[in-house]
Subunit: 464 residues, 2 copies
Amino acid sequence: MTHQAPVLDTILAHIDATRAAAHGRLFEFLRIPSISAQPDHAADCRRAADWAAEHLRGSGFSARIAETGGHPVVIAEHQGTGAGPHLLYYGHYDVQPPEPLELWTSPAFEPTVVDGQHGPKIVARGAVDDKGQVSMWLEAFRAWHDVAGGVPTRITVLLEGEEEVGTAHLLPFLRANTEALQADAAVISDTGMWDIDTPALTTRLRGIVYTEIKLRAASRDLHSGIYGGSALNPINALTRILGDLHDADGRVQLDGFYEGVTALSDAEAKQWDALGFDELGCLASIGLSVPVGERGVPGLQRIWARPTADINGIWGGYAGAGPKTVIASEAGAKVSFRLVPGQDPEQVFAAFERFVAARAPADAHVSVTKFSADPAIEVSLDNPLVRAAQVALAEEYGRPPVSIGCGGSIPVVEALHSILGLDSLLMGFGLEDDQVHSPNEKFEVRCLDHGTRAHARLLGKLAA
Amino acid sequence: MTHQAPVLDTILAHIDATRAAAHGRLFEFLRIPSISAQPDHAADCRRAADWAAEHLRGSGFSARIAETGGHPVVIAEHQGTGAGPHLLYYGHYDVQPPEPLELWTSPAFEPTVVDGQHGPKIVARGAVDDKGQVSMWLEAFRAWHDVAGGVPTRITVLLEGEEEVGTAHLLPFLRANTEALQADAAVISDTGMWDIDTPALTTRLRGIVYTEIKLRAASRDLHSGIYGGSALNPINALTRILGDLHDADGRVQLDGFYEGVTALSDAEAKQWDALGFDELGCLASIGLSVPVGERGVPGLQRIWARPTADINGIWGGYAGAGPKTVIASEAGAKVSFRLVPGQDPEQVFAAFERFVAARAPADAHVSVTKFSADPAIEVSLDNPLVRAAQVALAEEYGRPPVSIGCGGSIPVVEALHSILGLDSLLMGFGLEDDQVHSPNEKFEVRCLDHGTRAHARLLGKLAA
């Protein structure tokens, strides 16, 4: 590996020297309104795929557009100039709809550089999610190509166009192409840093079991005067069941819910404590002042490392203005559980079914539907790719990256794991205030430039 | 009173002899589509009022149409030929919309006589609610007028046109006309019998406190992955509060809720037991099999004589198809309490406010709105008018009437009591299966004819 150091220095210098051209290429990418949710932008989605494929070809990749039944994916390959691990780079070229347009300070698809607290930032839909982050590794590939004749290890690229609409066509595509997509590990840049000076690897993603419960009682709506006190009220019953989800200490009351959940390692707990998470400040920004969840558990652990239960929606009976004296025939709710390593999603779902059944009154016809059941993901820090990323980030930033969690799930990470057997390195450069999915989405130029260099460094670490 | 007996016999014979003409008049009334809810039927409502006023004039009443700001009321007066109590007869000439029209077996406003299990029945919108029941006392007045020169006691008639749309204009009208509407008691025929052979007086009406609770948490909807375990979920909180409304024995858990509630008298309990209420059969007809409510309390008492709590509607978060990982910013519910004699509606509302406040988590901005707070009504059986009605019904049917309850409230009964100071005699002749408010509403001819005779008898009992 020692012979790479001078090459890497040249590559980094090349990245710095050609950053204006790289920004220009990103701007081209951002100008394509590849809004996957809007059918009249289907051609733009394909155009974005073509654009990325052409970019990759310019870096020595063979690239093709593959059909999925929805928006196409870009598949690209480079054998690499060395014998390091075979990496699958995943990203997405599609973006969220820009609406409401009137809240944008500049056109959503005309990238505009604006000065902010951290210096210049690029304002555009997709700036950080995910075109800007994809462009970091595209440019790292290009620099390796320009300076060293190609990326130093074997790489497959999988760039999809339906991440913002649920990745529906990607999963069958992965199942149908397990051969073509074989690799040793995946690399994804679609997450964030801890703050602008503190790089981060995301090593924990909570899983999720998402359910819908419906409770049917009488065969028709009833008059609450005539039947109140005799006929089952499904809303009374539903609130009684769901009101029991947590105990007084905020713990979820499903049988066996915490079985297998392990405490954070001392090292990880200490590292998270040192981050100085300002939970009260975070809550204050949304009008709240008191954390909920398990009593006595630190804030970051409650969000990243402890399982939760939330009712995401509830309905039944009369919700219009004024009074209506009705006993509804049916009520329902969406209930989801965030999971952490050690929990089996199917067992959690079964426990919820039992929880409901045990509390359902006679005459309640209850159905519990499972929409998803994905386990939590934990990336072992004891992994050569992760260690390489840690060194790359430490060298780029002059401080080691922190290992952080993500309270939400990233479905593709689970899919890459379960379908292709790949662990993912989640090395992202977004910031908390990047306005992802909102008007005036932005990406700090500082994050973009460091991210490109960090990706180039990572390849250097893997070269063998 | 003894001299009345021969007159009454003549009157009853006259009613029997002229029943075809009386039915014909009712059919005229039923043909007027006086649908109060539909603005393009405003003229029909006025036509129905005029028709009734004319009917009353034909029986020696002075009658006028009084404006209310909405559909008019008919006010009629007869000084009476004797010195009995001054009675206010209340009824309504408006009807529910007939929709859905396709479910009617004959036109809703073309009364049609159809043979059924109890003999002929009149099928039409308003047949029993309330034109048919109003026509019983209109025809009783007419028979007294034709045979004896006038009703035997002083009578005021108040016939309104907005009962089916909430009686909104009637209440200010009552307040503005307390002088003109003075009387000793009110008589209303808008309720039912126990069964076709068992006459009934409704002596208990449950009251109601109807509320809306809203619970606001964060200032915007949140991602349940990012905030789950830290930010207050208002649906979690709402179900936790409302799930606590009842204890395991079905008793409402508001502080002091049952204070002042008295047990049924032994006589009333025995009489209700003797009715042999088939609660399971009633529940089976709506797809249920197990009564709810207070454990160990007989069915009729649970519906008529015990207070209840029902959630009439609930909402919050995502209720569409599939999953959405959101923590809502707000959730709400409609919650109503049915009250029995001895309960103070304002105290029940205050207890609910305290119940909610005691269970609301920090950060929950809770509002509890009161839509109505009406006490239960209990008609004392120890009342000359009630005793007269009991005798009249016993003589007409050959068996004494039962005293029954009504789980719902009848707002006008409360208004007549609180605004005019009048107790109401609720002597009705509807049956459970009359399809009130539904397609193919009907009134049994047997009920109609007995009802007319019973009203004529009641006047005979009051003559002094």
